[in-house]
Amino acid sequence: MTMIPTIGLEVHVQLKSKTKIFCGCELKFASPPNSQVCPVCLGLPGVLPVLNQEVFNLGLRAVLAMNGTVSKKIKFDRKNYYYPDLPKGYQISQFDCPLGQGGFIELASRKKVKLNRAHLEEDAGKLIHDQSPDSSLVDLNRAGTPLLEIVSEPEIDSPEEAYEYLTNLKAILKSVGVSECDMEKGHLRCDANVSVRKNTSDKLGRRVEIKNLNSFKAVKAAIEHEIKRQSEAVNAGQIIAQETRLWDDAREKTFTMRSKEEAHDYRYFPEPDLVPFSVAEEVIEAARKALPELPKAKRERFIKEYGLSEYDAVLLTGEIGIAQFFESTVKLNSNFKAVANWMTGPVFAYLGENNKNIEETKLSPALLIGILNLVQENKVSLQAAKEKIFPDVIAQGREAKEVMKEKGLEQVSDDSAIEGWIQEAIQANPKVVQDYKSGKETAAMFLVGQTMKKSQGKANPGKVLELMKKALNAHA
């Protein structure tokens, strides 16, 4: 029997400031080891941290975007533990006075998953184990990278909800420009807390923390696995141990990492090098006013203003760059549905295949409209536009018209030319014609396809269908 799960998520997002949280080192991905460091982030003797104002501003914006409250007093604390990637022997984090308290992430079902807190902290460096058989190396480029840890209340009821929570959280953070949320670059990391119980009236089961979740899919799969594992254990009369487990993506299983007894005592205490401060109400209000439109509001506006389906609206508002591109494009051509189809179809497919943001391509709203207009004006078939013209436009930034001419894809609407191809198709397929005559209507569509082929896709399909019916009926 599968039991009732209770799920809470802890998400670490990297804030996209130019420099680290407590020093002036630049944040560049994939720099040579230990090249983005200074005495402060190396934790050399005598150095002191100074909070980066930009990091604070980004954190504040994130808290407001998630409907959270900014704490009256903002204070940093030291989380003490030893590890070679932690230069000072403590991490500067926030314990009892986090930047943000409360807030929620809304799901499509209108359920609001409440947030416990959002706090600022510094990232550690990383260890490199594969350079030598008998020693490990330390790269401290990442040490001091600004993170916002967002902790949900244990109010998520299923793996699917967890997935949706993460998707929506990411959309919010991206839309307000506080993080790139690129999981592959480690901009977003997630730990899941999972427990099970038999009835909703029972008290919560023992909590198991799952780490090493490298994608939203992994989060979902790991939670599914964990619910099953815990349910089976409880049903078999075992007691769930409070522990931390690691997700193994390849084997799709979780494994014990450390038990509660092995858990650290972090000896939190107030960071004496950073003075507690409070944020003026005016500063908070100004930040709130400056927030861009959030995904939910944007989605609703897209439905209302452009007559889009909920499905298209969700797709087009998930990323700020996509939403902006869409709105710029429909200013040039008000065929909203056609623009939406082009974007959610060929454009998304290209971005997915090439792992790019729309900003990283050569496509502009004007270029996209160039293709769309050719189709609308029946100068080219939709199929030719998608398959033969679009790839060149997005990859090379060329004008659609130019590509069409070069490839000779101009659509033919001239009756005599089309009739010629129709006759060829009819003569080559007497059996199909026979089928049509005996009442099989769909046979006509096959012949249309054959005609299109003969025209090398250049014939206007509407025209072909019209003339095909005429020709077949005449043939009869």
């Binding site: 005495p39 002191l48 003490n80 070679p84 403590y90």
Partner: protein, 472 residues
């Protein structure tokens, strides 16, 4: 008179008259250090007396006497770019700082010459300068006795004229108590007055850098140069710095000086008490009004201090882990062994004692009873001072309960050692400025008198101290 015998101001005056060159001054000090620091008395104020390389920056000669061309010795816990810095600990041996502390930048920009590193208790944990990995420093007034600590090297160098002036650091009395023991002047400024950037932290919420000098005027001149807000230190205060020299030579007539009864209760006695009382009479004769005040939470100071300071220290010293710099046990087979052996062999006994104390105080289940409670009492101690300073301009106390004690006298009893800071600790807990200056001799040993002031009121402390010093 040899140049090393001069005060900083006297040397500066000589420069004004073109009476000597910077090289003359540096040579004189190097010679004094080489010949006197390691002579039969074994004063050992410096961590090394050989091959000293002065550091200075081209600076415009000033039109008035200033720190231009004045050599200043630096306690071995303040970073100087390109110099080995150890905090008197084996664990940092070989570590060369790649950057200058803010105070060093300020001294160099003022034209001062940074010369020599002075000895200290390991990581500034101590009151006798006996726990350094370089061996103990002795008191030039009586080499059988300790110079006080932890800035014992700085105080001894100034007293022995192997330094014109020096910088020290003070977490619970580490500038003032050695200044008292060696018969020189030491100021612990208001918390936040001087940047801590580049000072290897002992207890971050208590540490302050300050000058140790031959007289009050030199002290004011150096604080002028090193005080001020620093964007690299969030705990430094954005409060304007007055010209402290302006406070010298002024009358203290009508100044209200508080005498806290808790500091004159049982415990103090003998010659120290007698000399302090005579000094208080001297203040009266200078026109100051002595007012009885109470600092009721004084008796908790040592207890609070020995929870707060080790707690912060246990965390501050975590970075000495053998991973990136300093001493590492190369024979270790595992990560844990590397940590344990490097720290076990690199740190001395007193350092380990305080790390254990602090780790315990911060541990889950004990935090509320120790650290949190201590922080609450600390607030009470600060309130005591706020109340007292509503009535008085400054507070007078002894600096230490006794003159300098003998080497080895208290090393076996840490608690007794801790009590030698009983009169100095409160100023750090409250964050207020305090100065110690000589006020007499007890059996040829110097006794120090301490003046504590309102936050950021170092100016009036200098006024008071200068008037006291000048009145014979």
């Amino acid at each position: 008179m040899e140049l090393n015998q001069l005060t900083a101001y006297q040397l500066a005056e000589l420069y004004q008259k073109n009476g000597c060159t910077q090289k003359d001054a540096v040579d004189s000090l190097k010679k004094a250090i080489e010949t006197k620091d390691r002579d039969a008395r074994q004063i050992h104020a410096y961590v090394t007396a050989e091959n000293l390389s002065p550091r200075h920056r081209k600076a415009e000669k000033t039109s008035k006497p200033s720190l231009w061309g004045v050599p200043i010795a630096i306690k071995d816990n303040i970073c100087v770019e390109g110099e080995e810095i150890t905090c008197g600990s084996k664990i940092l041996k070989g570590f060369v700082s790649p950057y200058n502390a803010t105070v060093i930048e300020k001294l160099l920009n003022a034209g001062a010459i940074v010369l020599g590193r002075t000895n200290m208790d390991e990581f500034a944990f101590g009151s006798s300068c006996e726990t350094s990995c370089y061996g103990p420093t002795r008191n030039p007034r009586d080499p059988e006795r300790v110079p006080g600590g932890s800035s014992g090297g700085s105080a001894a160098a100034v007293a022995d004229h192997t330094a014109i002036a020096a910088l020290g650091s003070d977490t619970g009395g580490s500038i003032r108590q050695p200044a008292a023991f060696c018969g020189v002047v030491g100021m612990k400024p208001t918390y936040g007055r001087v940047s801590r950037y580049g000072l290897i932290a002992f207890a971050s919420s208590l540490d302050q850098i300050g000058p140790i000098t031959k007289d009050v005027r030199d002290n004011a001149m150096i604080l002028n140069a090193i005080a001020g807000y620093d964007t690299k230190d969030s705990s430094s205060a954005n409060v304007p710095v007055p010209d402290y020299m302006e406070f010298l030579g002024k009358s203290i007539k009508g100044m209200k000086i508080g005498k806290p009864k808790e500091y004159f209760a049982a415990g103090l006695g003998g010659e120290t008490e007698k000399i302090i009382n005579q000094s208080i009479d001297k203040l009266k004769s200078l026109g100051a009004e002595i007012v009885d005040v109470s600092l009721p939470h004084t008796s908790y100071s040592v207890n609070v201090y020995y929870i707060v300071a080790p707690s912060e220290a246990s965390s501050n010293l975590a970075r000495f882990d053998g991973v990136r710099f300093g001493f590492r046990d190369k024979s270790a087979k595992t990560l844990l062994e590397m940590y344990e052996n490097s720290r076990g062999q690199g740190f001395g006994a007193e350092v380990k004692r305080r790390i254990i104390l602090g780790t315990y105080s911060l541990s889950s289940g004990y935090y509320d009873a120790y650290y949190l409670k201590a922080m609450k009492v600390r607030t009470k101690i600060k309130d005591d001072f706020d109340q007292a300073f509503k009535k008085v301009d400054a507070i007078v106390t002894p600096t230490a309960p006794s003159p300098a004690f003998k080497l080895g006298e208290k090393t076996t009893n840490p608690l007794e050692m801790y009590l030698s800071d009983i009169y100095t600790i409160s100023a750090n807990l409250a964050g207020v400025p305090a100065i110690s200056l000589p006020c007499g001799l007890a059996s040829k040993l110097p006794i120090g008198i301490q003046f504590m002031g309102k936050p950021f009121d170092e100016g009036n402390l200098y006024k008071l101290a200068h008037a006291f010093e000048q009145a014979k």
